[in-house]
């Protein structure tokens, strides 16, 4: 009962916060709701005994990525920004499509038959702590994707340098 209540709280709050993020006119306020949203997501991870992921969620998303968002938002001209309509004219159509998609997904999910759990049960993770369990599996079973991810991150760095740092003059 209590775990369900716990999950229910997080699920409802995450949805409400997401709505607040997209509906606020002031982008700074949106970012702040998003910060709270990230904390709730971290809470959800804790609830799943994934303490390492929860901490990383806060450090990386709340601590670095969202601060950069904020940085960009702060440089906007907020007086103009506040006058712009929050949604473009076609939002009712988008809403209808989204809601029908939602109904479709909910309908399909009802037939979800969960697969048998793998080796990493809650007890197994607790026994060796989440960080150790995650580290071991990342560097053994998932070594290959892990290495690819490092290349993906390198591309992101190159991209930032190429697109932002290069001083280019137009031929004209």
């Amino acid at each position: 009962m209590l775990p369900k209540l716990f999950f229910g709280y997080y699920a409802v709050v995450i949805i409400v916060l997401s709505l607040l993020v997209v509906t606020r006119k002031n982008p700074v306020h949106s970012v702040m709701w998003m910060l709270l949203l990230f904390f709730h997501i971290a809470g959800l991870y804790l609830f799943l005994n994934a303490e390492f992921i929860a901490a990383i969620q806060i450090i990386v998303y709340a601590g670095a990525i969202l601060v950069l968002f904020l940085f960009v938002v702060l440089l906007l001209n907020l007086r103009e920004e506040l006058l712009i309509e929050r949604f473009i004219g076609t939002w009712p159509t988008a809403l209808v499509i989204s809601v029908s998609l939602l109904i479709l997904v909910i309908r399909a999910i009802q037939d979800m038959a969960l697969a048998p759990p793998g080796n990493h049960s809650v007890d197994a993770i607790q026994a060796e702590t989440h960080t150790v369990a995650l580290g071991k599996i990342l560097y053994t079973d998932y070594l290959f994707p892990f290495e690819i991810a490092s290349v993906v991150l390198l591309i992101a760095i190159i991209g930032a340098l190429v697109l932002a740092k290069r001083k280019m003059r137009s031929p004209q």
Binding site: I58, G63, L70, L74
Partner: protein, 350 residues
Amino acid sequence: MNTILETIIAPGSIDFALAIGIILVKIAVVIAIALLHVAYATYFERKVIAHMQVRLGPREVGPYGLFQPFADGIKLFFKEDIIPAKADKPLFYLSPVIFFIAALTSLAVLPFFDGFVIADLNIGLLFLLAMSSLGAYGIILSGWSSNSKFSFLGGLRAASQVISYEIAMGLSLVGVMIMAGSLNLSDIVRAQHAYPTGVFVIPQFLGFFVFVVAAFAETNRLPFDLPEAESELVAGYFTEYSGFRFALFFLGEYTGMLIMSSLLALCFLGGWTIPRFITDFIPFLSAVPGIVWFLMKVYAFMFFYYWVRATLPRYRYDQLMAIGWKLLIPLALINILITGLVKAWIKGLL
């Protein structure tokens, strides 16, 4: 984590109430003592710097000016609370609170001596990093919501500075994590005690150096105090704050220094322990309570903070960024590489 959840799932027992009670008492004690330390840290700073500059420092309130922090507190408490007319009020109210809470929450995972820690998290070190990154929000938002040029510039400077140095600081601690094989701060201290040198500062001298420099930048202290550079930006991000809101920033900053010093003591200097070769040599030192050693280490570093403030001028902003990205981060990465290789070699994996 799970233990907390399990206790909540099966409440009603006396143990549950007792556990919560003990935690609450611990929290109260830690906060009270930490704030007292913070109050006197300001006093010591004024005294230390005064003597370095051949002055006397506060002397009027109480003997040797010892009650000065209380006088300051009372003064700030009763000052008028001024809010700029065009400020974004909710965020203006919120940001000092975020800043202060982030600093205070970090205290929860610090083991002051063996067994005395409010929450003995497996990921204590990551929790500290997470909280220190959260503190950046208080700074940035206060700068923006004040609707003042000085505040805004300070906020922007703080944002980029904190983000940049957070990376260096996190990476500098990775060497410690590798050596201790844990993210739990108590385990890190125990691992140091079991290690031949007794402290990690000797094998981790590179990480130590990076950490110390990054700690100055993270707490916005001289020589990296550009976010509040008084000669350029009045007071930076908290220019528009007065009264008790200003006090929250002030307290938060000094709590941040205290936490950085504690982290340094725990991760590099052996926390509440002293190296075994010292206790083997002078056995009666092992009878000294751990908290004494811990506080000595913390205050030694606090003194270093003041010393640097009294000695060094402020860096230029581009120099600050260059140090962070081009010196500290590569150094920290080299440190990780070396530490990892040595550990693999010791374990016979190479």
